[in-house]
């Protein structure tokens, strides 16, 4: 089993003909993901790599391919529109890789997508992978291996690092999910912890956070109150400088400076093993799963 995506996932790619879109579409196909179509306005009727049909709109793509998921690689100024187009076309699972989406756009996209019953992952995220079954996004397939651990992370490349260390230590994964580092994202830590707790194949969960905000602290409370499976964690940014923050609103709204120390303490207080280095995740997992 896995969460969010599996062998039956039928994916379309929005921005399939762009530099990043085409490169990663090839990688996804190579990994075994069912890429059933692509969308690039003006290129409808053509084929990507002589195989994958391209459509002008998401609605057309969904109608003729029965796609149930989409991945978005369009430039930042068009990303909000792409996410809303996908939700309106009835796509249930939307993954937005695009980095640099204005946050005020996301304040409008988030309720729009939700009201149409779709789940959004990202933006500014690496996507997700259910090893051996399907990958959606940009996580390198060969660093993953099937197994019993679920992973959720705010970071991209730091996720790869931890997965790579796990795979080298022969600890496989059910699904690795990158939720993205933007202030407003479609799926948060708690959403992922919740599905991992319910997934019969997942035995333990790794949670990778970083400085800023209070999502990790809230997720830590969720782990204590709602989860039976063991969770281990890592927080990046212990040496980050305090910075020259302007204004008071950030501190007032969250009541927290969002430091690594605060988050690590929240992890410890709620029974989450805290790794000092990325590699320490491996030992913590081994101990938790014994």
């Amino acid at each position: 089993m896995s969460v969010f995506i599996d062998k039956s996932t039928r994916l379309i790619v929005q921005g399939i003909t762009g530099r990043d879109g085409s490169f990663h579409t090839k990688q996804m196909i190579e990994y075994g993901t069912q890429v059933v179509g692509g969308v690039t306005p003006g290129k409808g009727g053509q084929k990507f790599e002589d195989k994958v049909p391209i459509f002008n709109t998401v609605a057309e793509a969904v109608k003729s391919t029965r796609a149930n998921a989409t991945v978005i690689y369009v430039p930042p100024m068009f990303a909000a529109d792409a996410m809303m187009e996908a939700a309106d076309a009835g796509v249930r699972f939307i993954v937005c890789i695009t980095e640099g989406v204005p946050v005020l756009d996301m304040t409008r996209v988030y309720p729009f997508v939700r009201e149409r019953g779709a789940r959004l992952l990202g933006p500014n995220c690496p996507g997700l992978i259910s090893p051996g079954q399907s990958k959606v996004g940009i996580i390198p397939g060969r660093i993953c291996t099937p197994g019993p651990v679920g992973l959720v992370s705010r970071s991209g490349t730091l996720t790869y690092e931890v997965v790579y260390q796990m795979t080298r230590a022969k600890i496989g994964q059910t699904t690795c999910v990158g939720i993205g580092g933007d202030p407003i994202n479609g799926t948060n830590f708690i959403d992922c912890l919740d599905v991992f707790e319910k997934d019969s194949a997942t035995e333990a969960v790794v949670m990778i956070g970083e400085i800023g905000g209070t999502d990790e602290q809230e997720a830590a409370r969720f782990v204590r109150e709602k989860m039976k499976k063991p969770v281990v964690g890592f927080i990046a940014g212990q040496t980050a400088p305090p910075g020259r923050r302007m204004g008071h609103a950030g501190a007032i709204i969250s009541g927290s400076a969002g430091t690594a120390a605060e988050k690590m303490q929240a992890f410890e207080e709620n029974g989450i093993g805290v790794a000092k280095r990325p590699i320490d995740v491996v030992d913590l997992l081994k101990r938790a799963m014994r």
Partner: protein, 381 residues
């Protein structure tokens, strides 16, 4: 992107928010002339992208134009949190009967812009928030409809009881929300919003932060950027689309992705070293970005070793390898280089490095240990 107080005030004024007059000076003489024009006691305020200006001595009263000149000279010599003060705002001093706080930020939790209002404004607002949270009212706004009049009134009633003041404050809140939303703000703040002894409400200070992701579609706002008040290496990094923050250590770090960059710095520290910087080359990195990254890092004389930590996903490691080779050909390195590289197109990258007499490691801990050992001259276990 941070903008200065005087720039935020210009934006707020356009939306009708009552703001006292003020002019910007870059020399003590200009400050004196402005003070003479106002012919009253003035406040001289450092224009710098850092909080805590007042506590750093960057905001002072001047009773005469001559005073204004002396005080401006002092403030223009200040460095606040590492940033030099290049401009001061000279503005008539206001008589203050009460101080309130109003601000807007995009809130992660409610995923909406949230308006905050407190009748206990001023420099200790964060303490107020921490110790007496009931003195702050928070109100999430549905961005699809904007701040409605009744919502603004609810907030204004929390600040004032005099009906004239309530109406004035509600109007200011709607104007502030509009200024925030229409200019791509990630923060807009008036602290303090004061009442004068005659009952008028005016914004004595103004802060605004613009979401960097908005700048491509708002050239007029992007033009407000004041590079003279930024760290030069941070300016160069931004032009090359890199995120760079200078630190005090001696291990220069070039990493793709903010999370991995922070984890790399943490690991440098863990093994007894000190990172010289935070540098994220981002995704989709082309070779020119890597060339710029190396130029910025090597311009810091305290850097004793350079560590690349690249885990390719959307970043292709062959692009990074090409960048490293090009940069070294242009500018041979004077300090040792440790490269850790794995992920997308790794085989091609390793071949490019090998063909140019360079080698790469695949283990992060080993690479960090080696870089720390080279920078400190100590053995690292």
């Amino acid at each position: 992107m941070n903008i200065h107080e005087y720039q935020a005030k210009e934006i707020f004024r356009k939306y009708g928010i009552p703001i006292p007059p003020g002019e910007v000076a870059t020399t003590p003489e200009e400050a004196e002339a402005i003070a003479r024009k106002f012919a009253t006691t003035v406040v001289v305020k450092a224009q710098v992208h850092a909080g805590g200006r007042g506590k750093a001595g960057g905001v002072k009263l001047a009773r005469t134009p001559e005073d204004a000149k002396i005080i401006a000279a002092q403030i223009l010599k200040l460095t606040i949190k590492g940033l030099p003060v290049k401009r001061v705002l000279v503005t008539p001093a206001a008589e203050i009967a009460s101080e309130a706080y109003v601000g807007i930020i995009v809130d992660r939790a409610s995923k909406r812009p949230v308006l905050m209002a407190s009748p206990a404004g001023g420099i200790d607002i964060e303490e107020v928030a921490a110790k007496t949270p009931d003195k702050i009212l928070r109100h999430p706004v549905d961005p699809r409809y904007g701040l409605q009049a009744y919502e603004a009134m609810q907030l204004a009633f929390f600040l004032y009881s005099d009906m004239k003041q309530v109406r004035a404050a509600a109007k200011i809140l709607q104007q502030l929300y509009k200024a925030f939303f229409e200019n791509g703000g990630s923060l807009a703040e008036i602290n303090p919003l004061v009442t004068t002894p005659t009952g008028e409400i005016v914004a004595l200070d103004a802060k605004m932060v613009i979401d960097d992701n908005e700048l491509d579609r708002r050239p007029d706002i992007a033009a407000l950027r004041d590079e003279s008040s930024e760290d030069p290496s941070e300016v160069e990094a931004r032009k090359a689309s890199l995120t760079f923050i200078k630190l005090d250590g001696n291990v220069g770090c070039v990493v793709n992705g903010a999370g991995l960059a922070m984890a790399t710095m943490d690991l440098v520290k863990y093994y007894g070293g000190e990172p010289a910087n935070f540098l994220d080359i981002g995704g989709s990195s082309n070779p020119e970005k890597v060339v710029a990254a190396l130029r910025i890092i090597t311009s810091d004389p305290s850097v004793k070793a350079i560590l690349f930590n690249i885990f390719g996903g959307i970043t292709r490691t062959d692009d990074v390898a090409n960048g490293i080779v090009t940069a070294i050909k242009q500018n041979p390195l004077k300090v040792p280089l440790v490269i850790r590289l794995t992920g997308t197109n790794e085989e091609i990258a390793l071949k490019i490095l090998k063909d140019n007499g360079l080698s790469a490691m695949t283990d992060m801990d080993e690479a960090v240990k080696k870089a720390v050992a080279l920078a400190t001259g100590r053995k690292v276990a």
